[in-house]
Subunit: 334 residues, 2 copies
């Protein structure tokens, strides 16, 4: 797997401009007649949109990287964000439902953090709008890290190295080790976990040989069958909530947040970026293969039984959405 | 922290020869009058001794690296070797006693795997003589990964990528995914987890400025007070068993293995390599600081109350035993 470097991710604009230019000139030279399809998609930028109140700095990213791998902000002392969002496993866990504190099994499949900065709603039920809101949830959740947040902050306070890094990341603050800054630094690190330059991105940017014939058939089937209605935009999700009850799931989904009857069984559309390396699938993780997942989505969301060849083509297309894995460091913790 | 590269570790001999030559010529030029002390120690080689029946190959190291980070050979699916032997935490866990399957707390402090290839007895009670014997224990232990080993092998068998890597690592075998090869590849990877070129190693090899005056005082106190009787050899352990009952411990130690009365409360001497980054200390992890640990060892093992200055000097010396952290990859698991 190729890794792209974080400094490159920060030097965003020139790369994007160059990419766009290349796409235009290459398209002018040769075409595969699928321009109308390509126009329905967006290549993945190197960085997601940034919030006005949390500028992206190297200091916050480095601190967030440390905190992401820090198990001592869990009650057991051995569970970190990276336990379930494991970089070795597509930044997820590849088991059906998350296993957390004291071996408790949660109700839902762990979403990958890859490209989570592009989502406009976090968690399966969208209970937080952004990564700053998301970051602290799993630390406190009793089935995840099960840690009192004030106690987590106290533990961090004990280490000179964390005192220094928080001070560097938030230089204007008297007492920088606090909830907000814990969330901001974790969110900053997570925003760098993008996976640009997948074969499909290269294709969209003008390298028309980056996809083979079957993958192109799959792209067309993906559009023609309506998958793109919900799986759209750079991360291939509309960040909206759609009702689905997959086999074995009794999860009420979005209803848990809003308590509105119409939100029962609704879940935020998951990203399809890197979907080939973030199995198993669905809110309960009960679906093991991409082929099964595509067939289920056809039946449940599109109301049709997709043909075997169509499923194979769409699956081939989905495999082209695996990008370059992000650069990160296993930090030397204090 | 600097990382040394694995290929360099495999190109062992030239580096050692060059190191030895340098030591001689530098010593000829200048001396700090402590040659007799230096002669009592050994610099840490880049690689530990290799067993006759498990040659060290890149293929085994790479496979072992994958397996070390593989949580699906645990019953929960989320605990890997790297959970407790965490590269971010000195390849240990920095909590008093290990936390494993379902949050169970074990009886003993997790030893670092760094330089474990230099030990002639594995585990606190020495129940295995080598890393091949050690490797499978924690996978099966009910308070650690709690996994039936045959089931672990079946899980690995399901992945084409593991089938290929085992075949490459053990090319002459019909069914290479078996217990022996799981142990051999994990042991091979662990043998590469060495930490050469600590300040003390550079000092021993002739760079007499690599230690400051207090650190040199500490080295002399370490010898003069007899610490070196048990903490000797390249990893600063004799791999022998010595009786000690530290505060709060009722652990019978070596007796659990041999059931010989004389082995009660005996534990294998731990390595002092990287001891500054592998806190807390003692078999029950109840001792938080190096200063405390040195004082306790003085009282319990040497029968004397060390002076405060001596404790400070020895502690300063122990800090010079932190070497370059080993190179490894967070693998892309299947």
């Amino acid at each position: 797997m190729k890794h792209h470097s974080r400094p490159a991710a920060l030097r965003l604009l020139p790369a994007l401009v160059a990419g766009a230019t290349m796409a235009v000139s290459a398209a002018a030279i040769a075409d595969d007649g699928l321009g109308d399809y390509r126009d329905r998609f967006e290549a993945l930028p190197h960085l997601p949109p940034l919030p006005a109140d949390n500028s992206l700095t190297e200091e916050k990213i480095e601190l967030g990287n440390m905190l992401f791998f820090e198990p001592r902000i869990s009650a057991s002392g051995v569970i970190s964000c990276a336990t379930c969002h494991n970089p070795a496993l597509g930044w997820s866990d590849r088991i059906p439902r998350a296993v957390g504190h004291d071996g408790q099994v949660g109700e839902r499949n762990t979403p990958t953090v890859l490209n989570s900065g592009f989502l406009e709603a976090q968690f399966w039920d969208g209970r937080e709008p952004d990564l700053e809101g998301q970051a602290l949830g799993p630390i406190e959740a009793s089935v995840e890290m099960a840690m009192d947040l004030d106690m987590a902050l106290e533990r961090l306070q004990e280490f000179d190295l964390y005192q220094r890094h928080f001070k560097e990341a938030f230089p204007d603050e008297e007492s920088p080790i606090n909830r907000d800054n814990l969330a901001k630094s974790l969110a900053s690190f997570q925003r760098t976990l993008t996976t640009p330059n997948s074969p499909f991105d290269r294709y969209l940017r003008g390298d028309l040989d980056a996809l083979n014939e079957q993958e192109k058939e799959g792209m067309q089937a993906f559009v023609d069958n309506g998958c793109i209605a919900c799986h759209r935009g750079p991360a291939l999700t509309d960040s909206q909530f759609h009702a689905i009850q997959v086999p074995g799931s009794t999860d009420l989904g979005r209803y848990v947040v809003t308590e509105e009857e119409s939100d029962k069984y609704r879940f935020r559309t998951p990203t399809l970026r890197n979907v080939a390396v973030t199995y198993p699938y669905m809110n309960n993780g009960a679906t093991e293969t991409l082929e099964e997942a595509v067939a289920i989505m056809g039946e449940e969301m599109l109301g049709r039984e997709l043909e075997e060849q169509t499923i194979a083509d769409i699956t081939a297309f989905l495999h082209t959405l695996t990008g370059e894995m992000p650069n990160f460091e296993v930090p030397a913790l204090p």
